[in-house]
Symmetry: C2
Subunit: 365 residues, 2 copies
């Protein structure tokens, strides 16, 4: 299939959870598969912190497939022969949707810190508005991992009738201080990097050499995306060839991995967007706006299929099990699957073979 990004422009205001207004705003998106005539075959896929709307397929003259290409496509678990799969870039991100480096209309300058704080609730509200432009007022399913799972759950709570099935993976009902602390590394490292210039950097400043602060923060991120076991397997205690054991900056393989991945990431991701998105993750709490977590959860009408990963050190399985037990007590439609994996949080991106059958079954019904 031929893949391309489109951008939807909204001139009506988006009323944010903070009381502030975003106006105008853009939502970048991709679709895979055809929307049927009664528009009943739409599946929304939600991305994580560093992801984008490019969830599947390969762009022309490109080689890298979308981040969930193993799951989405013709004949795959989210089958584009049957479903029209839609993925939007979240608000505050840096791949085409409105974010802190977008134009703060009517000025010709980017918002930078004038961009309003957005929450997971705001992200899904914008997605819902976008779906309306396609004439979609009901989804067959919503699927997402990590921050994408937060969006999926928030959708199920805020708009109980909107989807038949919701599949949140590797996520939680409210971000714990453990995760906020990991994000704190990035927040401090970005803010304190002199090249960040308190947010007043040039738009192209980091294309050649990424912001160190973002790379440093991302090291902490990668720790939380892996697990002690997967690091043992991936790297062991192996030394990088030619790096001396007794050289102060001689490196272990795990250190080279961190250097390489974080340096590349810092060239392609905007540091202000990173700050805004980790803020959205930190403030995620399904119960906010409701009297309690119970009052939020009990609203859900969709069938929820919770998928956690045994060695997820960012959002622990017990957090999703908590949702499961609460819904079960309420006699709501819910299933819970703890995947036997020692990979860590990123298993939802990497070990698709371990959970695709669950997704296939939900969507095959």
């Amino acid at each position: 299939m031929k893949i391309k990004t489109d951008i939807a422009h909204f001139t009506s205001p988006l009323y944010l959870e903070s009381g502030r207004i975003l106006e105008p705003y853009d939502i970048a998106y991709e679709t895979y598969g055809e929307l049927n005539s009664d528009k009943s075959n739409a599946v929304l896929v939600c991305h994580a912190l560093s992801g984008s709307h490019h969830a599947a397929g390969v762009y022309e003259n490109d080689s890298k497939a979308g981040w969930w290409d193993g799951l989405i496509g013709s004949g795959k678990a989210i089958d584009t022969d049957r479903y029209c799969v839609i993925c939007t870039n979240t608000l505050a991100s840096c791949f085409g949707s409105s974010g802190p480096m977008s134009q703060n209309y009517p000025s010709e300058q980017p918002y930078r810190f004038k961009f309003p704080v957005v929450t997971i609730k705001d992200m899904i509200k914008a997605q819902k508005n976008f779906l309306a432009t396609l004439g979609i007022y009901h989804l067959r399913a919503i699927v997402g991992g990590s921050m994408g799972g937060m969006q999926a759950l928030q959708f199920a709570v805020d708009f109980p009738d909107f989807a038949d099935d919701v599949i949140p993976l590797a996520t939680t009902y409210a971000t714990r201080p453990w995760t906020i602390a990991f994000n704190k590394v990035a927040m401090e490292a970005i803010r304190k990097d002199p090249r960040f210039q308190d947010g007043n950097y040039d738009k192209d400043a980091f294309k050649e050499e990424g912001l160190d602060g973002l790379a440093i923060g991302r090291v902490a991120g990668h720790i939380s995306y892996l697990s002690p076991h997967s690091m043992d397997k991936k790297f062991g205690r192996n030394y990088v060839n030619n790096d001396g054991l007794f050289e102060l900056f001689g490196r272990y393989e795990v250190e080279r991995y961190m250097e390489y991945n974080t340096a590349n990431f810092a060239k392609m991701f905007d540091p202000l967007s990173y700050l805004y998105i980790i803020k959205a993750i930190n403030t995620f709490n399904l119960s906010r706006g409701y009297d309690s977590l119970y009052e939020a959860i009990v609203r859900i009408k969709a069938s929820i299929h919770l998928i956690s990963f045994k060695a997820d050190y960012l959002f622990f399985p017990a957090e999703m099990e908590h949702i499961y037990k609460m819904m079960q007590r309420n006699k709501q439609k819910v299933s819970y699957h703890e995947i036997d994996s020692d990979y860590g949080h990123d298993a939802f991106l990497v070990e698709i073979d371990k959970f695709e059958n669950i997704v296939r079954e939900v969507l095959g019904e």
Copy 2:
């Protein structure tokens, strides 16, 4: 008891594991309790990454007690009425023993990056040399947590007859990539901080305002010293009063904790020392210098009493259990205690009441 630090000066060379030589060198130390006439009541206590030789008691005109004051003292588990407790500042640290900011004799300049990489093996060799200056050639016991536990184990392997009992807490037999990755955050953040000046900072540069890079690295450290559960208990999802939920830099309590503690730490700890000590932790591997871990462990003649903490996310209980099982198979003298604690790695400093009875029993025999 009156507490004071002494410094022992060594003019003979210390042959390091790297093949390099440290000469001359200093070892800062404190003792608590009296050495008996046959010098048979000495207990060595080994400190962790950020610790010092000030393990117990309170200095004159000071209020803060040593880092293990709850465990060491008159009538306490390590009873200074019976034992002469000795604690030395490790090589490469910044509290009086030789480290990268020590004078690179005969020049009048500090070593900085010319300081040789030191290992856990080197640290205990220097400690053994120091003990000889007190006429001590045998220890009643060696006790240490985290990096202190590495020293305790390395002592037991390298000098099998040196101690009767060895109590390593919250440690491992070889540092895993998981821990190396946490240390990588500090390594990158320190090196990339412009005020670090590639190690050429003034000695007093950070007294007023600590190095940001060290503070940032320390945030990652604190994550690994706590646990998801202890953070829930300590901080929950509480917001700092007056900090706005929808302000980008409005802070959760866990964030304030990180800011406060890491800023203070960066004022009192030397960043070059930090780099050298995390290198020593990274390179720790009991089997280095022996044919295998088995060949290292089987040398041990002391009774080993391994204490791990259930929710230690830095050195997991399974790592110490591995030593236990190996020694048990070899029919060596060993016991293993997994403390039921959800505090995290720092439980060895904080939850003394949960393991002091084990220490008391070993030393009461």
